[in-house]
């Protein structure tokens, strides 16, 4: 479904990611784990066409994404839950959701998706007319996820979902990811909380300083002594 070959991402003169090759299959949940600054977020931004400059190739659904502007990529079905939530603070919850479904023209389809999302997050519908910045951190994170889901993604990119969330909210978020994936959504999950990520993911790539140092199934990674020591806390 998603395939990258020899991907390098640059910010100005600084190379954040070097020669990454990976793929994500249909309905698969793949995770990138690694420390802050290992290049995980840069990779995700590159998939969406938000990086300054990239080298290498990315294919999505068999189509080469070179020269495809980011808004076209979103139209093709790639959605993101950005790092740090990045909801629009001065828009209402409902407007934030509308932004997520920007390319869905049919009213009925939007309403159907809205119903689906509100089943997942009843709290959001209760607060649909409140401004984004009035929500609590956890609610903002839910909104960010809902905003991505409402756009009917084929591929969902999730960047640091556990960041700044209470442990209980983290559990809930991961539960949700699992559920959505079980319904057939393809997900690429970037996570600092390696332990959590590996419990939900099928496969994982370990990134260190812009390079993939290890790739394996999630269960194997969980058993790997090096990973245990470095990321799972012994």
């Amino acid at each position: 479904m998603l395939k990258a070959e020899n991907l390098s991402v640059y910010y100005g003169a600084y190379r954040a990611v070097a020669d990454l090759s990976f793929e994500v299959g249909q309905a698969e949940l793949v995770t990138f784990i690694g420390a802050n600054g290992a290049g995980k977020s840069s990779t995700i931004r590159a998939i969406l066409g938000l990086a300054d400059r990239i080298e290498g190739e990315i294919w999505f659904d068999g189509q080469n994404l070179k020269n495809v502007p980011s808004h076209e990529r979103v139209k093709m079905g790639i959605r993101i839950v950005p790092e740090g939530r990045k909801i629009f603070p001065e828009l209402t919850v409902l407007q934030n959701l509308q932004m997520g479904a920007y390319f869905i023209k049919e009213k009925a389809r939007f309403n159907r998706n809205l119903d689906w999302v509100s089943e997942l997050f009843p709290i959001l519908i209760e607060r649909k007319n409140q401004l984004g910045h009035h929500l609590s951190g956890g609610e903002q994170q839910m909104l960010a996820i809902a905003r991505a889901l409402i756009g009917e993604p084929k591929l969902l990119l999730i960047d640091e979902i556990s960041m700044g969330l209470m442990p209980i909210a983290v559990d809930k978020a991961f539960e949700l990811i699992k559920q959505v994936n079980a319904e057939g959504m393809t997900i690429l999950l970037v996570e600092q909380n390696a332990k959590k990520a590996l419990t939900v993911a099928k496969r994982g790539y370990v990134l260190e300083t812009g390079r993939i140092v290890l790739q394996d199934t999630a269960s194997n990674l969980q058993q790997n002594p090096l990973i245990k020591k470095a990321y799972l806390g012994g």
Partner: protein, 285 residues
């Protein structure tokens, strides 16, 4: 007194109309767009031209708006967009240069003298309780209201408007949501410039004159209004426009011998900024 309030509203709504475009440009690109005043003057000239040939005010307004949208778009595409990565003062100076160039161009094309812009309306004036409201003033109030309502509608009720708001708040995330930023910027300049054009035509009608230098006072006074409104806040700008318009009219009617009207706007702005550095409606830091 009431008469002064009416006059103040008229002036204020013209101010608000010009400043709204400026604040929209600032909201997205963070550029102080002095050449907006040139767009405003070209609107007045275009309106006059069309009106002279067709005698239709509606047509004059529409064609002025269309012409200025193109003008505004050209400025955006060929002057501002390439300069976005430079120091912030650079596009500002480029904008000033463009304004000087345009003023001279208007003088060369339209002649250095004042041209009358006389529009006859169905009635002459309305009088309520000793307060005179001329037909032109009615036109301005209606025109401004129509423009501001349509801007409100466009921004708050359409999808593109929603995208505009999102882009103004967080351009990067808006891009990640699949917004075509170029399209939003174009939309922004088209709306801003057509409103400026309408403001130009209405101002010309109000004073029954079109002249090459009619943009020089708005060029900088608009900044006082935009800053007072909190740089980038549309409701703030409208409120600030009305406040400054009223303050000027009332102050100069009663204390006119102390201060000229242009200084009133700026004194008010400085005083308010010292106490609220983010403007009246700006976000607290």
């Amino acid at each position: 007194m009431l008469q002064q309030v009416v006059n103040g509203i008229i002036i204020g709504s013209l101010y608000a109309l010009i400043a709204v475009g400026l604040t929209m440009v600032y909201g997205i690109l963070r550029i102080l767009h002095i050449a907006h005043a040139a767009v405003f003057v070209s609107g007045a000239y275009l309106g006059l031209l069309v009106y002279t040939y067709t005698q239709s005010l509606i047509l004059a307004l529409i064609l002025a708006a269309v012409g200025c949208s193109i003008f505004g778009w050209l400025i955006q595409r060929f002057l501002y967009t390439p300069l976005l990565t430079e120091a912030r003062i650079v596009p500002l100076i480029a904008s000033v240069g463009l304004f000087i160039l345009c003023e001279d161009l208007f003088r060369l094309l339209g002649g250095p003298y004042i041209r009358a812009f006389k529009v006859d309306l169905w009635f002459d004036k309305l009088i309520f309780f000793d307060t005179v409201v001329t037909a032109h003033q009615c036109l301005i109030v209606i025109g401004t209201a129509a423009c501001l309502v349509s801007v409100y509608f466009l921004i708050n009720r359409t999808k593109l408007g929603l995208a505009w708001q999102a882009t103004a708040q967080d351009m990067d995330t808006a891009k990640a949501m699949g917004i075509n930023i170029k399209q939003v910027i174009n939309f922004n300049f088209i709306i801003a410039s057509s409103i400026a054009a309408i403001a130009g035509v209405l101002t010309a009608i109000n004073y029954n004159s079109v002249l090459p230098t009619m943009g020089s006072v708005p060029a900088y006074k608009m900044f006082a209004i935009v800053v007072l409104g909190g740089l980038g806040s549309i409701p703030g700008t409208i409120a600030a426009g009305l406040i400054i318009g009223m303050a000027e009219t009332i102050m100069s009617a009663y204390f006119g011998f102390i201060m000229p009207r242009d200084a009133i706007a700026f004194s008010a702005m400085i005083l308010i900024l010292i106490f609220r550095p983010q403007g009246l409606f700006g976000k607290g830091v």
